[in-house]
Symmetry: C2
Subunit: 212 residues, 2 copies
């Protein structure tokens, strides 16, 4: 009896986790497509194939659901940022970082869009991330960029504005994919085209900042 109860309980936990994950993924998509205000709980539920009340059952409110989506997105961003780690070799570090950010834009464009949307509208729900964890990450990388310049491995450029360039360029391929597709005869970039875009970016930035 006890075992059966445990088993049933475990099964419910799993079902719950699965339902929550489905709603989270769907919500990220809808928030990306429509923005926070434009997204409706009805549409999230419909795309997830659930009645609206279930969404409220799992995630109390639309705002709470949105916050969890934002948290997910930020963690993924930080994970890609870990690629900035071959600290002896700026060429390797920058190439790996730009590539990882481009891959994230390719694989999870909706996350990038949710983030962009949030920032554009004044970052009401994630301002604390910006001035704490994001700032810490940025400062630690500036230290390394400055070191590379002292060693003569890089030309003197402002490290912070270099990072902004990398963020802007890589995220552009997610956030502005509609525009990029429209300018490509309404065909989304193929894997090969995307690879060329990535290499062009790496090429221009490395040539622009490395000393050799």
């Amino acid at each position: 009896m006890k075992l059966a109860a445990n088993s049933a309980s475990t099964s419910n936990v799993l079902r719950r986790k699965k339902g929550e994950a489905l709603i989270l993924r769907t919500a990220e998509e809808v928030f990306a497509d429509r923005g926070f205000q434009g997204a409706t709980v009805t549409e999230i539920a419909k795309r997830a194939g659930l009645p609206k009340a279930n969404v409220h059952y799992y995630f109390a409110s639309k705002e709470n659901l949105y916050k969890q989506v934002i948290d997910d997105v930020f963690e993924a961003w930080l994970k890609a940022a870990e690629q900035f780690e071959d600290f002896d070799n700026p060429r390797k570090a920058l190439t790996a970082y730009i590539s990882a950010k481009m891959d994230l834009s390719r694989e999870r464009p909706n996350g990038s869009k949710v983030w962009a949307n949030e920032i554009i509208h004044g970052a009401p729900t994630i301002h604390h991330y910006l001035s704490t964890r994001l700032q810490e990450w940025l400062i630690s990388r500036e230290v390394w960029i400055n070191r590379w310049m002292e060693r003569g491995q890089m030309r003197p450029v402002n490290p912070r504005y270099l990072m902004y360039m990398i963020w802007a360029c890589t995220q552009h391929y997610a956030d502005f994919d509609t525009q990029i597709t429209a300018l490509n005869q309404d065909k989304a970039l193929s894997d090969d085209e995307f690879e060329v875009a990535k290499q062009t970016m790496v090429d221009i930035i490395l040539t622009g900042v490395l000393r050799e």
Copy 2:
């Protein structure tokens, strides 16, 4: 009598133009802050110091008002793009273009934000601009970039992805100003800091693409 009538009529036309311009500018601000769905006609009217019904009197619907804001923004974008015109000298042309786009981001960040918001959410109202006027502009500039490369003035880089880099980097300073401010101890970039950002971008891109 006729003269007086004309005079009164002219005055009304002026008053009307003035009211419309005020509403347009205010609407651009509110749409930038809140997105299309997040913006309310009530808030636009309040910020403009008018009763809500006046907004509907001048601009039939919220959607129509939004379309006119988008049109305005696109024209300003094209005007900055005219700076890409010193066709014999890639250094001059690229420097002038990047500077003009940066100045536009600085002076009219809300326009850039409205545009970004529109693209992120699938460009429902401006898709036609993208595949017509924007594409024409882009192709004509690619022709010139290719010519510079044939002449040996530039290293071989994909012209289109170079343009995307310039768009992404320059517009980032408008669209992500909240993030940039948060990372700057919650202080907006000063004119001097902004100038450094601009010079860093020009420096990296020119060094990255020019041959000499």
